[in-house]
């Protein structure tokens, strides 16, 4: 593709300012895509008059649909699927089974051999879960606003919706657990498993996203 014209810095700044004033994007990637399309098209077909070019293409600019809606749903379910995959790995992958057995062993001793009061037991379990929740919150934060606005990064927060559900469910199940320690142990195992899986997923995805979008950090 041969360029007919090279856009000047001033013209590009004008174009970017025009788009930012006329249209809001929740995902910075969509804004970049629109800018790149218009600049490339202007350089190939425009006659150097940026105002006229923008006026001619106003309908495309206004109707340009970002990827957000479809992509958000897709990313949400992708993360949820991956969360389950990591969680289930603890129960069938040879590499992870020692961790699972070790956790079961610790929980079993903790529940049945330490003879703790149900209230104390509940408090300790919930405290650990809250600490894991705080770790996940910290991991879903990034100082760069541009990174935070990315659909793939925003949805990292939602990864913990299922693990957090186990924490919220505790209040309604607390009385039941007082009478049934074995079920409480199973609950704790599932809750720990989901929280750890969520944190592993967030850590992994965060690394991938930052690597993929390192240009946004400059």
């Amino acid at each position: 593709m041969e360029k007919k014209y090279e856009i000047t810095e001033k013209q590009q700044a004008f174009l970017e300012d025009y788009i930012k004033r006329k249209k809001r994007f929740s995902n910075p990637e969509d804004l970049n895509e629109l800018i790149d399309h218009l600049v490339t098209d202007f350089e190939h077909t425009g006659n150097g008059n940026i105002s006229k070019y923008l006026a001619d293409n106003s309908s495309f600019i206004f109707n340009f649909q970002g990827s957000s809606k479809n992509l958000e749903t897709s990313i949400h379910w992708k993360y949820q699927r991956e969360l389950w995959q990591i969680f289930l790995r603890f129960f069938y992958k040879l590499k992870y089974l020692p961790y699972t057995f070790f956790t079961i062993f610790c929980l079993y001793n903790f529940f049945f051999h330490l003879h703790l009061q149900p209230k104390t037991l509940g408090f300790i379990i919930i405290s650990i879960l809250v600490i894991l929740m705080i770790i996940s919150f910290v991991l879903t934060y990034h100082k760069s606003k541009r990174i935070r606005k990315l659909t793939s990064f925003k949805h990292l927060f939602n990864v913990m919706s299922l693990p957090n559900l186990t924490l919220y469910a505790f209040t309604s199940l607390a009385d039941f657990f007082k009478e049934n320690k074995l079920l409480f142990l199973i609950y704790a195992l599932i809750a720990f498993g989901l929280y750890i899986s969520g944190i592993l997923l967030i850590k992994n995805k965060r690394k991938q996203i930052l690597e993929k979008h390192k240009h946004l950090l400059n």
């Binding site: 895509e33 800018i35 790149d36 495309f60």
Partner: protein, 112 residues
């Protein structure tokens, strides 16, 4: 220029096929490549192209790579593993469709 409506349902297949043969491409490049390959017969509008690209990305068939070009960022699309498989399926579907159409519009030449 041919009837653009006839191409409408094939847009995703066209994009997938182009990406299969070109590794990675950006939106504007796709529109120009289609124009070039069809000698101007098919003109993919931006209004149709980007929603199709975003849909394919959301479906996990395309992956995105961002690169700095001059003073701006360019979003490149490339096929994922699933996208490569889906391209083969879509092309097969397209061939079946063309064969069926051939049977319908020109039965004389499609006797097997």
């Amino acid at each position: 220029m041919g009837n653009q409506k006839l191409y409408k349902g094939s847009l995703q297949t066209i994009i997938l096929k182009l990406l299969e043969s070109n590794d990675k491409m950006y939106g504007y490049e796709i529109t120009q490549k289609v124009k070039e390959l069809t000698k101007g017969e098919l003109n993919i509008t931006e209004g149709a192209l980007y929603p199709a690209l975003h849909k394919l990305e959301a479906d996990g068939l395309l992956d995105v790579e961002v690169a700095k070009v001059g003073n701006r960022l360019r979003k490149y699309y490339k096929l994922t593993e699933n996208g490569t498989k889906e391209t083969a399926n879509k092309l097969l579907e397209m061939q079946e469709f063309l064969k069926t159409m051939q049977h319908l519009v020109n039965p004389k030449f499609s006797l097997e």
